[in-house]
Amino acid sequence: MTGRIALQLALSGLSVGSIYAIVALSLAIPFKASRVLNFAQGELVTLGAYIALVLTSYGLPYAVIVPATLLIAAAFGLLIERLVIRPIVDAPEFTLVIATFALGLIIRALIRIHWQDNVYFLPAPYAGAAFAIGPLRVNPSYLVIIGTTAVLVALLVLFFARTKLGKAMRAVSFNPIAARLMGIRVSTVFGSAWALSAAIGALAGLLLAPVIGINPELGHLISKALVAAVIGGFGSLGGALFGGLLLGVLETYAGAMFGAAFKEIIPFAILIAILLVRPQGLWGATHARV
């Protein structure tokens, strides 16, 4: 493998990994707040892309579509938390896992009923032909994905460190009862965590749409994001980012060296191996075994 090819692979690995990282982050936020892992998050990614598709059909400019999509998705996340999650948040883990799966199944099936299995392309202003930077061929979509991830991470760091709501979320995740005693409205924090998570999921959908097209199976990458979250350790935001990028790069190199079948299998081999040996993740704290 020459240096040029290695660099080229690293670039595409990082952009794929950025998508995994974004979805893994959106999984980690409500998990941190309410200990619920949302297996319907993949469908929220898909839904984000379809919301943008609907908005596009009204002829809105892209600069309006992006914030509108994120807001609609956030409202949807709020709705899910209020109608589905809150009534069962104290139920056994089995109920929560299966309920979020059922939710995803419903969303995916509804999308499939309305749009069938057609693939739609979302016209993004930045999408265009690849150009050359030095020896590399660079797809502008990849650069946008990597750049957006970097900005998102920076914003999240600021949000959790500086804002009142961000600090409240950290307090609730640390100890919900103590947080409630300090006057934090825990239900508001849960709701905002789900809204934030749904919006970040929709952002991943927006970024993916110009690259692979909008179809009902777009959210299948949830399984890769779960692997990324496991690598990083659940509920660790830094871990989610690290896990996503590592998985993207690893998978891309594995695919180039050992073929497609190996590329497909390696994430799940990693998942099973880590959960069996070190369930708290490579990054997470040591109390994670539930």
Binding site: F94, R108, V227, I265
Partner: protein, 314 residues
């Protein structure tokens, strides 16, 4: 004669007489119901009794189906041997998943079984020379130790095997192993205090569930005559979970009722087939939120109240 025996006899009579008056489609549907019953019983022992989440029950069924199919088509093994071979292979693979997973529970177990599901579907799709890949695998006419399996014979075979599976599931649930499963679900600490080894008990539950799934898969191969990976994806696993969650967790009759009702339900919504996933999802969500004990559990509670006695799960 007890009431429950009368009820079973009433339910069984049309099942036995079906080939006399049913159309070939009705017989096919009845066979699918029976297969779902077998799969649900196995899953319910693992999830309902032992309390372990499994999202890969459909992949275990796929392993049974593919093993049986490959043995009969590629190696010309008789179905009478291929079906037990499928069960053995599935049980071994289920045990080899259950062995490392026996110390996990809850979310982590859900993730490991989800990973297993993905790996199985990738293996089926990436080795098309052996498995037919995404295009599926078509089977030749089956013969059972020299006898051709025609439609009627196949139906009675599936029916007989299902009755045996129900009996086995019932027997297991009421044996010391079934009680050990229940104890492990309710409290690992209590189980240990009673000298029940939790890890070994979970491994046993995994293996038994896999055996039922392998049997269901082997029957599925014979009945449908064509298998492809989409039959065994995550929605299939969720359908099986719906059977037991709606029918009643931890109850053999719950598995039976859930599988029968929920396999028939999409048929009553003819012309709206694409809605079946939505219907399954809504029913599953509704059952989890509103009736955590399922149909059989709720009925038992109602009957118990009616008789003024203590409710007893069948």
């Amino acid at each position: 004669m007890r009431l429950s025996h009368v009820l079973i006899a009433i339910a069984a009579a049309p099942a036995v007489a079906l080939p006399l008056f049913g159309s070939s489609y009705q017989i096919y549907l009845a066979e699918l119901i029976l297969i779902n019953v077998v799969a649900a019983i196995g899953l319910n022992l693992l999830t309902g009794n032992c309390g372990q989440i499994s999202l890969c029950h459909a992949s275990l069924m796929a392993i049974g189906a593919y093993t049986t199919a490959l043995l009969t088509t590629r190696f010309a093994v008789t179905y009478a041997l291929a079906l037990p071979a499928g069960i053995v292979v599935t049980t071994l693979l289920g045990a080899s998943l259950g062995y490392p997973a026996r110390r996990l529970s809850g979310l982590y177990l859900a993730l490991v079984t989800l990973g297993f599901l993905e790996v199985v579907s990738i293996v089926i799709e990436e080795f098309p020379d052996l498995t037919g890949g995404v295009r599926g695998l078509k089977l030749a006419k089956l013969e059972f130790a020299g006898w051709p399996l025609n439609a009627g014979a196949l139906y009675y075979f599936v029916l007989g095997v299902t009755v045996l599976a129900i009996r086995a599931g019932w027997g297991l649930q009421h044996s010391r192993y079934g009680r050990a499963f229940d104890t492990v679900r309710q409290s690992v600490i209590v189980a240990q205090a009673l000298a029940i080894p939790p890890a070994r008990t979970k491994l046993l539950a995994f293996s038994i569930a896999a055996a039922f799934a392998g049997l269901a898969g082997g029957l599925f191969t014979a009945v449908v005559g064509f298998i492809d990976p989409t039959e065994f994806d995550i929605s299939a696993s969720l359908r099986q979970i719906t059977f037991i969650a709606v029918g009643g967790l931890g109850s053999v009759w719950g598995s039976v009722v859930g599988a029968v009702v929920l396999t028939l339900l999409p048929e009553t919504l003819r012309g709206a087939k694409e809605y079946s996933d939505v219907v399954y999802g809504v029913i599953l969500l509704g059952a989890l939120v509103l009736a955590p004990k399922g149909i059989v559990g709720s009925l038992a509670l109602l009957l118990g109240r009616f008789h003024g006695g203590k409710a007893r799960l069948p």
